[in-house]
Symmetry: D3
Subunit: 288 residues, 6 copies
Amino acid sequence: MKLTENIVTFVGCKSSYEDSDIVLFGAPFDSTTSYRPGTRFGPSAIRTESIGLETYSPYSDGDLTECKIFDSGDLVLPFGSAERALDEIYDRTKNIVNDGKIPFMLGGEHTVTFGAFRAIVEKYPDVHMIHFDAHTDLRDTYYGEYLSHATVIKRCYDLVGDKKIYHFGLRSGAKDEFVFAQEHNTIEKHSCKTLDKVLPLLKDKPVYITIDLDCMDPSFFPGTGTPESGGISFMDLLDSILKMSHLKVVGMDLNELSPMYDLSQASTALACKLTRESLIALTLNRQK
Amino acid sequence: MKLTENIVTFVGCKSSYEDSDIVLFGAPFDSTTSYRPGTRFGPSAIRTESIGLETYSPYSDGDLTECKIFDSGDLVLPFGSAERALDEIYDRTKNIVNDGKIPFMLGGEHTVTFGAFRAIVEKYPDVHMIHFDAHTDLRDTYYGEYLSHATVIKRCYDLVGDKKIYHFGLRSGAKDEFVFAQEHNTIEKHSCKTLDKVLPLLKDKPVYITIDLDCMDPSFFPGTGTPESGGISFMDLLDSILKMSHLKVVGMDLNELSPMYDLSQASTALACKLTRESLIALTLNRQK
Amino acid sequence: MKLTENIVTFVGCKSSYEDSDIVLFGAPFDSTTSYRPGTRFGPSAIRTESIGLETYSPYSDGDLTECKIFDSGDLVLPFGSAERALDEIYDRTKNIVNDGKIPFMLGGEHTVTFGAFRAIVEKYPDVHMIHFDAHTDLRDTYYGEYLSHATVIKRCYDLVGDKKIYHFGLRSGAKDEFVFAQEHNTIEKHSCKTLDKVLPLLKDKPVYITIDLDCMDPSFFPGTGTPESGGISFMDLLDSILKMSHLKVVGMDLNELSPMYDLSQASTALACKLTRESLIALTLNRQK
Amino acid sequence: MKLTENIVTFVGCKSSYEDSDIVLFGAPFDSTTSYRPGTRFGPSAIRTESIGLETYSPYSDGDLTECKIFDSGDLVLPFGSAERALDEIYDRTKNIVNDGKIPFMLGGEHTVTFGAFRAIVEKYPDVHMIHFDAHTDLRDTYYGEYLSHATVIKRCYDLVGDKKIYHFGLRSGAKDEFVFAQEHNTIEKHSCKTLDKVLPLLKDKPVYITIDLDCMDPSFFPGTGTPESGGISFMDLLDSILKMSHLKVVGMDLNELSPMYDLSQASTALACKLTRESLIALTLNRQK
Amino acid sequence: MKLTENIVTFVGCKSSYEDSDIVLFGAPFDSTTSYRPGTRFGPSAIRTESIGLETYSPYSDGDLTECKIFDSGDLVLPFGSAERALDEIYDRTKNIVNDGKIPFMLGGEHTVTFGAFRAIVEKYPDVHMIHFDAHTDLRDTYYGEYLSHATVIKRCYDLVGDKKIYHFGLRSGAKDEFVFAQEHNTIEKHSCKTLDKVLPLLKDKPVYITIDLDCMDPSFFPGTGTPESGGISFMDLLDSILKMSHLKVVGMDLNELSPMYDLSQASTALACKLTRESLIALTLNRQK
Amino acid sequence: MKLTENIVTFVGCKSSYEDSDIVLFGAPFDSTTSYRPGTRFGPSAIRTESIGLETYSPYSDGDLTECKIFDSGDLVLPFGSAERALDEIYDRTKNIVNDGKIPFMLGGEHTVTFGAFRAIVEKYPDVHMIHFDAHTDLRDTYYGEYLSHATVIKRCYDLVGDKKIYHFGLRSGAKDEFVFAQEHNTIEKHSCKTLDKVLPLLKDKPVYITIDLDCMDPSFFPGTGTPESGGISFMDLLDSILKMSHLKVVGMDLNELSPMYDLSQASTALACKLTRESLIALTLNRQK
């Protein structure tokens, strides 16, 4: 008898790369975090704790074991250099989209989105972004840095230009950032009630979804570095994801879980559940 | 002067066994827990932390000190043998119901319910069960085990048969379990909005209430081993308990508090409050 | 080059005392706390963690850096003597109101309110109090003590008499306290839906606002010594503060944050945000 | 069948008061603590966690179940008044010594020692004190207070006068306190190597032993409010206790465990073990 | 480009099964734990946290990357049935020893040792055991259970008989157990100073090493369910392992890390380091 | 009456900059940390928690209040750019040494030492370094980075060349690093027993002392990102500091406290005590 190797995946994600529709990977990076670091441990925690999760979704009546998802583990990223880390993320994403698959990235701090989005834009120049977050992330530079968690969505904007980005849940930032969001993008402060109006506008367009989990109120999701009260409920976020999955989603990320601030592990469990629901919903709608 | 012994009870529960209407006891067992153990410390934590609680309820305008409740402490249960532990729970419950009193059990993992329910069914063969939970607990076996937290409600079903069990809040399980619940029992997924329709059906019938505290959303109750987002609010659960207390309740349990995941102790305080409200409401309605 | 001293203030509060409209100070006292102490660390935590906060409010469109607020740090209070501690608080408040400024105090246990309120009443004999809390705090004595967290609002009542105090959110206390509140003051149990009816009654009257942060449901604010489920949401409390800021507010306090029960630091972040919103709203309305 | 009450004792302490040689009680008081409160939870934690302890001592080859010890639980002490709390402790101790038994007190902050020692001095005017501590506790007043954790040994000195107190392990205090200790008492700084020389001097004299657990190095005992590096090892403290038990011990206390700083619970387990060893050793030597 | 699977091993253990000298596996079982469960998370924590470890040992001047070690991950064990779990462990061990390799098991509670040792005894009937532990584990039954953490070494004794087991560090147990150890085995209480005398006796004999990490003093290793003060230092344990590696070691285990009591993660890091040192030392001596 | 500003210093450090002998500052940087970040919170924690410390040292019989120390607070450092952060540290240190004062820096990750040491070398080209650490920190690059916690002492070596650096306590690193240390510097592995031999060699030479607090065994100092068992005791480190203070010390740093891994706060208290002892000893010897 030969013993097998220790392959660790998000629960139920047992497809080979070749067969897969969606490729999951982690981007454990938090070097530009200005306040409380720790999101580097997010992807690993989500993968490890997913064993506490059922593979079946009573929301969409699908099951992860029937989806074709390949989990390629976490990237090995250099600490102290955002530029090089983002290059690694770009390369991984590029490979996945070139093979006709959907990249699904687990952060890390929000900065990682720029690495993935750069690769997405090259493949889908007309891509639109839906952005759930508590924070605007629209500064042009932050403490002199061009690549930072506080500038990441501005960097994405630089790639796609006006009226391509839809913000939901924003409730923290400098005044200039809110003004910028209103003039150049589309913004709903505090919540996501207007999503239903936005969805028809994005029909048939390639869409990238980036979810900073701190868009949720800290009552639902305390396990993050910069909790910001007055946010979206878990059920509203889950409903939004289920609705957005009907769009032509070409990439998605969930980020900013910080396990060291999640001593009850309830935030990690929530992130696991959202990951499951996203993966199943994207699969079910892709199969249609 | 003679010094007195150190008798520790849930706050305000000072009746003798003979005088009591309700008998409180703990069932500190968690050996079949497959994910994160720790509920064995639940009953002791509830008793200890209850000293931070007022005895008066502004909800029902009753006071624990005016209720006749005897707290007999925690059972001493063998770890590693669910069968023997359930026998101990059965014996305790049997004694209480035979003396015409209402057993009120604090778990422990949910498995403990089967020990109490077996004794209840013998006394009240027509008993119905109201079951609040995030998880279906309706597997027939789990990792080869017949007695487990994941099979406990199926075991109870085996005793009473079709259409006797009403589930509320279920949102995690295998597909088969949800199908079973719909065919053989009565189920509301995610919430408890249909309770008002169920209550008239149960009028004059003996009812056993089992509440897995993880039926609540983790924002309200993070201190449990398998937190499951998207659940019931504290106020909805409290309202449900106050309403159910008007039924002919012949036994009740609250379970699955895991103090080691409750570092703020807010979940323990919540469990204490629900215990107080349940005890007062059951007493007020019994006295009518 | 001369190195500067290490002056630590709540974020953005850079005014001199002379120029200031509002004076912030901490009252780190918790010696009468009967259950879980620790609020002595509240003011320091709020000041330290405020660096994670933006100075701009997207709610009122104001910015702390444009407000005139002086942060004079924490009082040094004697542990073990409520009387002497309250005298220190009285002196500090007296100085501030005599200079025509608004005192804004961060507790500490709720007892500290009595020290500030005594000075306020001397200056504004017709002052009314708006009181947000989970607990009645209306006992006349508590374990034989006259000055205690459980008696503090009764002490304030003794100064101003009938119908001057408006309670919101109360849901824990002895029956007598609820009866007293209804007969002598104005009370809304559990929530603050009637605030809109109260506000017109207080127009043009001097008002002192005291907010025990445990008025919020523990899902929003677990980091306190006596969490009490079934409370006010963060958004309802924030809305209430923004509305009350239109009154003639002559003093305000926020208290009962206990950082050692806030391991995710989300409660501390919430307290920081409420402090910012209160300071900006009071300033904007004072300037009108 | 009648169910029994929930009597909670330190493990193995099952004697009645009448039969007992030693009476255990808790003094949960910490109102004068100037830095980090929490020792009020010490006695209850020691009692609860003692269930993880064997009753047999491989050090002295005795067993708790063969000792005659009565555990009368914790005193109910007023918070905010050191004077009244110390009176309660005095009364309890007085009763015990008048009945010819040895009081064994679990603190609480070190202040509680004065309450017990006052009763001891009345019964045994020639009593000597052996004092293990990191801190001198010899201030005459502290922040204006006469009764405080920082003055408690000075208060004891006031009762018995020069050359009756032997300090071990002291390594924190004001210079004046160290000078006082050297002039009026007997002091070994940092460690307890000279204990062997002191023991013969105390032969046949009544001795009170007070052990502030922070005398140990924080590597052994981190779970206390003011950890002070550079202290005594666990084994040196245990050896000292075993040796001192051969004296004519008329009272003893262990204090300053603060469970909220003991997240691994190893400090609580250590305090339980020292309690067991002390109780057995005192019994074995009393029986001789 | 094809993305690779997420293979997770103890740092530097990159050999194939066929090439390997040592096979590492985890036994995540803790169902019979009578006090504080959680060791089920031990093997996974050691594997995950090993990434913080260098592969080079400055103690033995070897490097993990030059050793031939295969990490086959954790067994999937049934909770609630010690018998079935031990069968799984037996099977895994049997395979490894039959292929001429050394099994190296990470627990889990100490009970798991019996599963491995049964397979070892079948292959090496003359095997001797060296046992480091704080607890005797020599009860014949415990709360009626035959297979338990408190009986595991007695079960091993039953397989090999008198004078085959050498205990070090024991300092907790019932009196009977200590007597049994002295009569039937070889025991050093509290420490391991006599190891040097034992080693020559075991020359050329097959030896199984079982190390309950709680043999160490909790100052070095607080992260375990039943910390027992007065134990072995880290350096003494490391030195012992390096010395024992010169014996003919046919199997080894390290157990009883409980990550949820290791909030600083220092105990997990220590367990990682001991694992590295053991693996390198066993390899270096096997190669001789 | 005018209220004063909130000036926060290390306890007892009340000198003006002009009068000061020693200037304390914090360097809250941890962006290159490859494993567990968090040392950015170290300097602030040390300053805040120092209020629990006496100003008097019973070791050297000096008192902080009699020393001339200016605390200039923490630098504001950019996250994500080691180069720019080190420039800021260099500038601050340069100013201090140019004014003839001794810089005393609190880290932050160990990388910060290079910023200070660069300024020191310019002023004192013949400076020698004494380096206490668990880790070699002698890689030439790390994950492609030239400036990193794993390369910092190699960078310092590049400035001063062979035989100027004395390492103590090293017990983790790659084999090449240990070889390098032996060939080019002076190294004692694991401990600091040879310090007494080194001190005479450094007489009259300018010396910079850099202490990575993880040189201590984690039993004494668990609160750090990469705890490494088998290290120096607190008393050995304190003795070493007292001895080294007799040298001509031209700068010193203490680094790598990570408060989020110090839940008992005992490691922070230890760091405070070492800071006090260092400051007093440096002052006493400077005054000679």
